[in-house]
Symmetry: C2
Subunit: 202 residues, 2 copies
DNA sequence: CGCAACATTGAAGCAGATCAAGGCATGTGG
DNA sequence: CCACATGCCTTGATCTGCTTCAATGTTGCG
């Protein structure tokens, strides 16, 4: 499987308009996947962390755009050869299915968040999700690093930057978290988990 | 693959709390999948139509509840034997992957809808989606049958029944649709597609 | 230092939620 | 066959919370 190693810095990786010609496996850094409407409204679908596929060869749909937050490195495999390999190897097929199922699960949780959760619930769920997803299982550590901007969080949670900011400061006033630029410390994990509506992926 | 044929009428099929012990393939009728929070807020994740899997064996997650709208018949296969069969047959594996990918695509469109679309855009996108999904490709027919209640639509689109109703009547005033109980006729499909933000699955 | 980018805070406006009432089918029993 | 009940949908009035608009604060970097 001829995989090239690529290095991208704050660059657009691909647009949703172009049919994905390659499969990318993220090795380091963070990538955000989003859809942007004509008038500029943006919805972030998720953040890919190392080990994630950025896009999968889902027949001929054009699902979203993706770009890097900071510096990233990816393994790039041509779509064609990836498909061939998937055809030959049921193990790879299973891996891809497992990944896709997990993505579906996450997306469905996001749907609940966007459809029915309050700003506070969204933020807290996001913090927990991000802690479990990104923080390299530094167990015990309650400090969460948020490498993305507030506007990214807003566009992920379907709110405005202002509401994100206000909600975070409110949570700080309520002694649930401590804010520190791009760091957030959970003061009462139990309470936070209580207030966050959504379960996190296993 | 020992598949039993089951008949269910307006019944809860399974709860999100129980780990899915079976795989269900919907043969006739419509099933709604949803998550309900403790306080009663409900978010419908989607409507399954004949040919859809209702739930897939996604490791040990407990994704959602499902129940029937009207009468449905399903093929029920035990989770264990389905997994075995999937292990033996790459073709089935590929089918399941294809189905899951489509679900993911649909879920991601729903995320955009819930995160960034106006009530009008949500309703119109929903109508188009439902037309393509459910109406058995009666091409040319612009009449869409909505077998679900307004409250189901509301819970699918993250709004209230009242807003659904008001938005529909507004669309009728604007000569885009005609309402008739559980039937909706699109008067200007081109305009409707224009105003609906989301693309439909291929 | 001084600019640029991002974050926070404040004030005002408005869209959608909530609360409340009425309408319109379908079904049931007298 | 009509009176009434029930379930669902629609419509109206009010209210609230989020967005919008605007200003100020903070951090990092040339």
């Amino acid at each position: 499987m001829s995989a090239e190693r690529h290095c991208v810095a704050n660059d657009m990786i691909f647009l949703e308009s172009e049919h994905a010609l390659s499969v990318y496996l993220l090795t380091t850094g963070i990538v955000r996947r989003h859809k942007t409407l004509r008038d500029g409204r943006r919805q972030i679908l998720g953040f890919a962390v190392p080990g994630d596929f950025i896009v999968l060869p889902q027949s001929d749909r054009k699902p979203f755009s993706a770009d890097a937050i900071g510096n990233v490195t990816v393994n790039k495999i041509s779509r064609a050869s990836f498909l061939t390999f998937m055809r030959l190897s049921p193990a790879l097929l299973r891996l891809v299915l497992e990944f896709t199922s997990r993505e579906l699960y996450i997306a469905q949780n996001q749907v609940v968040l966007l459809g029915r959760a309050t700003p506070t619930e969204r933020l807290l769920s996001f913090l927990l999700m991000w802690r479990d997803r990104f923080t390299q299982s530094e167990t015990g550590s309650t400090e969460i690093i948020l490498p993305m901007k507030r506007s990214d969080i807003a566009d992920y949670l379907g709110m405005t930057v202002e509401t994100v900011s206000r909600t975070l400061t409110k949570l700080q006033r309520d002694k649930l978290i401590v804010l520190n630029r791009d760091r957030v410390t959970l003061l009462d994990s139990a309470q936070v988990a209580m207030l966050a509506t959504t379960q996190r992926p296993s």
